[in-house]
């Protein structure tokens, strides 16, 4: 195929009618190589590592490795904490998004900037910050310990908190965008029908932005599932208690790379599975 030739001519001939139609099709003009070549390199870069994983996987011993209690424990902890973190993110993040999108208060822009900070700082720094705020001698953690005898660091709750810290901004940004894009006249129509602002939110606004909430929740869940830095700093790395899949992968990499590959494959399969399952129904807004 020469650079100038249109794809239609290169396509294998089908029915005679189709070929005649193809012959009359307006040609596409010069092929945009400067765009396509970098695009293909980028795609290869994204896909190749997974190919590496698949090629090097110890397929023979896969079953037995998967059934190891450490693996099952880490997987179970990861799934439950990521789901809990997503739930917390939705419960707190949707109202926060509403506040940012629908109300005017002094310093709103500053609040919006603060919300996005966890997206840009290194997660390890987030973990340190969480430790300083909620640790046993932290800003708030000291009172939690003194008044309620609650100590958060190095517990499964800390895993969830670390994940919420890094994942909630994704949900807030996604839902805020959906709220800004929603037609506010529907909210006005609801108000003329006697709906208070809270009722308008529950019965009109929320259903309208549901795809945005779902997309945000999927993003948040994926981010929580992969969380490493903040978790290991704030929650530690105790197998069965705070050792999530990413931590287990990192640890296994030091001792038996084959186990690391198996764990990675499991994470990959779970993530892909969720994305594919939600693909058409909810993540259209993604």
């Amino acid at each position: 195929m020469t650079p100038g030739s249109p794809p239609a001519e290169a396509a294998p001939p089908e029915a005679a009618g189709t070929r005649r139609a193809a012959a009359l099709r307006v040609r596409a003009g010069r092929f945009p190589w400067p765009l396509v070549v970098p695009a293909l390199i980028g795609l290869a870069f994204l896909v190749l590592p997974f190919a590496g994983l698949l090629v090097r996987a110890p397929w023979a011993s896969l079953g037995t490795r998967l059934l190891l209690p450490e693996v099952r424990g880490a997987l179970w902890l990861s799934l439950t904490t990521a789901t809990a973190a997503t739930a917390v993110s939705v419960l707190l993040g949707v109202p926060l998004a509403w506040l940012l999108a629908r109300t005017a208060f002094p310093g709103r822009r500053l609040v919006r900037a603060l919300v996005t900070v966890p997206m840009v700082i290194p997660p390890v720094v987030g973990g340190v910050a969480l430790l300083l705020a909620l640790g046993r001698r932290g800003l708030v953690g000291g009172y939690l310990d003194a008044w309620f005898g609650v100590s958060l660091p190095f517990t499964p709750a800390a895993v969830v908190l670390a994940q919420v810290f890094v994942a909630m901004p994704f949900l807030v940004i996604s839902v805020e965008g959906a709220l800004r894009g929603a037609d506010r006249r529907y909210e006005e129509a609801a108000a003329t029908l006697g709906a208070s602002r809270a009722v308008v939110f529950w019965r009109v606004t929320l259903p309208m932005v549901a795809p945005g909430v779902a997309a945000g929740a999927v993003l948040a869940w994926a981010r929580a599932l992969g969380e490493f830095g903040a978790t290991i700093t704030f929650a530690g790395n105790f197998p069965g208690r705070t050792q999530t899949m990413p931590l287990a992968v990192y640890l296994a990499m030091q001792e038996s790379p084959e186990s690391a590959i198996v764990l990675s494959l499991v994470l990959l399969a779970v993530s892909l599975g969720v994305l594919v399952a939600l693909r058409d129904r909810w993540t259209g807004a993604l």
Binding site: E188, A189, T192, G194, A195
Partner: protein, 347 residues
Amino acid sequence: MSAGLDARLVVDRGEFRLDAALRARPGEVVALLGPNGAGKSTALRALAGLESLTGGHVRLDGRDVTTAPPERRPVGMVFQDYLLFDHLSALDNVAFGPRCAGAGRAEARAAAARLLERVGLAAFARARPRALSGGQAQRVALARALAVRPRLLLLDEPLAALDVHTRAGVRAELRRHLADLDCATVLVTHDPLDAMVLADRITVVEAGRVVQEGAPGDVAQHPRTGYVARLVGLNLYRGTAHGTRVEVAGAGAEVALPEPRAGEVFVAFPPRAVALYRERPDGSPRNLWRLRTEGVERFGDQVRVHLDGPLPLRADITPAALAELRLDTGTPVWAAVKAAEVRCYPA
């Protein structure tokens, strides 16, 4: 304390200022008629509480609701594109208002079913809004607005979202429903036909001001602005009457009347009363002006000729007459109108 709507709406928005007094008795349908940008929709939004007033008041059945939020006003509104909630069935759309007013689910749905029945859509109760035709969606929107038992019903361009073919049917239907209501109704439209058919009284708004008010027939017969005159198809001038002659303001022309008048008056005559001649006609009719052709356009099965000169006017002639006159832009013509065709009323 008066029943119905009593409002004076003042909204200042930079360059634009709306200042309009509006009244509507219970059961009365008032049309706000005006060109685009006249402030009709702003007035409607102010009545619904979706827009704050800079001055004036809104009273409903004697109760002052000027600063009440929209959800606390006994007002129902049908929006131009209906704004039905897409995630709810037609029935639940109509039940939305009663639910907000505290009715239980079953009770609200029963009330909604009765209203859907009333607008002839009982069979579509479970349909989603996007599955409805424009006319059906409009009736659901009407039922939804009526479900809150409003004391004031607002309709924003209720027929504008419909195509020409369905409009006549829906208009007749809507008229029937509006006639049954015991609440005051204000509808906004830029279409004189909608206003004439649907309203008991027409309020003409131009550039934020009420310029004319009256029964549809009266407005059609006695327009008071160029906008209304164009809508109802009349040539309209304002001037000073001296006996049977009117000196038209701002023009060097006079119009002869069938009978003597005095003072400031409007004179109006329909375009079809104008006869055009290339040569000065014999027998000299009492109204004869030397004018210049500005343009020619099709108008139904007639041709409308726009003329400029001492008395700018529009004349309707037959295509055959146009061919005979050989009119072109700039062609000078004589325009004649019988005095008996001229209507005159006080300004």
